[in-house]
């Protein structure tokens, strides 16, 4: 029998500590939709998405009411779109518009997978596809895009990174009236995962089935609250408390994922336990690190604290679900985390420290606004650094950076909603143009060759 304390603990997690299921994401394979023309492919894609995801919003709302846990977003991820457009180079926008329309018809918050995987090399079709990304981000509402430019196994495609730096600049320019908002819907990866339910990087990998439900749970506020109860515990005990909290959160994700898959006639994929902050007070990963004993997130000790947090979250999550996947760890998106925003504004959290933090957490340089006049080659170099950390450490790393047109250090940018607000961060004024222009492929590390 459940005790009253256990019941009240669960209720308080939602009521006071911002616990939520961040997303139910339906992965849909669109490979059977490839036709001989852009228009016919787009029609098949639209019909398939509308049919498979018809009830995702309704089911999400039913489950939210049934279990008393908010389900914030309903999303779709699709087969990397560059595989669908290879047959009609130059007409990629036709598919993008159909995807956007389908997302609106079924009522989801985002659709991810306008993506390409070019970690080893790029086909002519993939180059054309990547070149279409700025226009797609500027002229669609629901689409998110990603490109994988490196893996531990294959090394890093520096040619792709050079191109992506230019693409990010162009995306910012095309959405200059919205402070470069297009860039907030685009992420570049090393070691991208195929079952990530979170945006902007979700896509439905080619190793996946027809229709799969992946669920992303969150809960920095719950972890923060749990740590407040052990102010004098040693660090081993702190890790234990985080682990137990992560277990509880993930179990709810597992319950909802299984039930959602059943009701939507889909396969249960994975639960992604990621501490994903929102800009509201009480839902910050930065504040969790501060609760652990760092005066301000970004100070010395932050990397160690984050490493403990990330590891404990994974361990608790793994125990709670037979299928933990996606990114599963702690997210550190600057604009989406009140602790990070405050620390950046106070001059404590810098890009260099963020980069170090990404070596021990589940993602990377995320939702970072930089001066609008940052050269494309500098953005490419930031990406190259981050990809190198992912490649050498056999982990996913990502960059989602916004060069905000017309703004510079000292200014703020407001994206609103879950994307929050960010102070423009200082970028090093040192050129990497020669390095980036060399092009070619960065060889894979020796430990990538494991056979």
């Amino acid at each position: 029998m459940l005790s009253n304390n256990e019941i009240l603990e669960t209720i308080n997690m939602v009521k006071e500590e911002h616990f939520d299921v961040r997303t139910i994401t339906m992965g849909i394979s669109l490979l059977p939709c490839i036709r001989e023309s852009a228009e016919k492919t787009a029609d098949a894609v639209y019909d398939t998405i509308c049919k498979r995801a018809e009830n995702i919003v309704k089911v999400g709302e039913e489950l939210s009411a049934m279990y008393g846990v908010p389900i914030v977003n309903k999303r779709i991820s699709i087969t990397p779109a560059s595989l669908l457009t290879a047959n009609f180079v130059g007409e990629e926008i036709v598919l993008a518009r159909a995807l956007d329309r389908a997302a609106k018809t079924v009522g989801v918050d985002f659709l991810g997978g306008y993506s390409a995987l070019v970690h080893k090399s790029m086909t002519a079709a993939e180059r054309s596809f990547i070149n279409s990304i700025p226009e797609v981000l500027a002229t669609t509402d629901k689409l998110c895009s990603s490109v994988n430019v490196g893996t531990t196994r294959s090394g890093i495609n520096l040619d792709a990174i050079k191109l992506i730096g230019e693409i990010i600049k162009k995306s910012a320019d095309l959405t200059a009236d919205k402070d470069g908002f297009g860039c907030a819907k685009f992420v570049v990866f090393c070691n991208a995962v195929e079952d990530n339910p979170f945006m902007a990087g979700a896509f439905h990998g080619i190793g996946e089935g027809d229709t799969v439900i992946n669920v992303g749970v969150s809960g920095p506020g719950v972890v923060h609250h749990a740590l407040k109860n052990v102010p004098d515990a040693d660090i081993t005990e702190v890790a234990e408390v985080i682990k137990k909290t992560a277990f509880k959160i993930t179990r709810v994700g597992q319950l909802i994922a299984k039930e959602a898959a059943k009701r939507l006639n889909a396969e249960f994929g994975i639960v992604d336990l990621s501490l994903a902050p929102t800009p509201v007070v009480g839902d910050s990963v930065g504040h969790v690190l501060e609760e652990m004993g760092i005066e301000t997130v970004g100070g010395h000790g932050t990397t160690a604290a984050l490493a403990i947090l990330n590891d404990a979250v994974k361990k608790g999550g793994t125990m709670a679900s037979p299928r933990v996947g996606g990114l599963s760890g702690a997210f550190i998106p600057v604009s989406e985390d009140i602790g990070m925003i405050e620390s950046t504004a106070a001059g404590v959290l810098t890009l260099s420290k963020l980069e170090a933090m990404t070596a021990v957490c589940s993602v990377g340089i995320d939702m970072v606004a930089v001066p609008g006049d940052t050269p494309a080659s500098t953005i490419s170099a930031m990406i190259a650094d981050e990809m190198a950390i992912g490649m050498v450490n056999s982990k996913t790393t990502a960059v989602r950076v916004i060069p905000v047109p017309g703004k510079t250090v000292g200014d703020y940018v407001e994206f609103g909603g879950l994307l929050g607000r960010a102070p423009i961060m200082q970028v090093m004024n040192v050129s990497a143009e020669k390095f980036i222009n060399r092009g070619g492929k960065i060889p894979a590390p020796i430990h990538g060759n494991k056979n």
Binding site: L2, N4, E6, T10, M66, L255
Partner: protein, 89 residues
């Protein structure tokens, strides 16, 4: 199907009566009930059987929430699986 109904709020006369009348009206059976005062708040937890409920789950949640607002307390209705998942291995 079993659910947990939790009522939290300032203590006053008639809370149990109003909540249980509403449940009886909708053919919902109370299988277990406990109440206590925690940190000056009235807290009641009920285990109920809703298989024969006249209302579907979403409507039951809405009706009980509305009743809570009328009385001046918070009323939560949740499927018991969410608690079992979180607290039982």
């Amino acid at each position: 199907m079993k659910s947990i109904i939790t009522v939290i709020g300032k203590d006053k006369a008639g809370i149990i009566a109003k909540v249980s009348t509403k449940l009886a009206d909708n053919n919902i059976n109370i299988e277990d009930i406990s109440q206590t005062i925690m940190q000056n708040y009235f807290t009641m937890v009920m285990l109920v059987e809703i298989s024969n409920s006249k209302l579907d789950f979403t409507n039951l949640v809405c009706e009980m929430k509305a009743l809570g607002e009328e009385i001046g307390v918070d009323v939560y209705v949740q499927h018991e699986d969410v608690f079992n998942s979180m607290h039982k291995i």
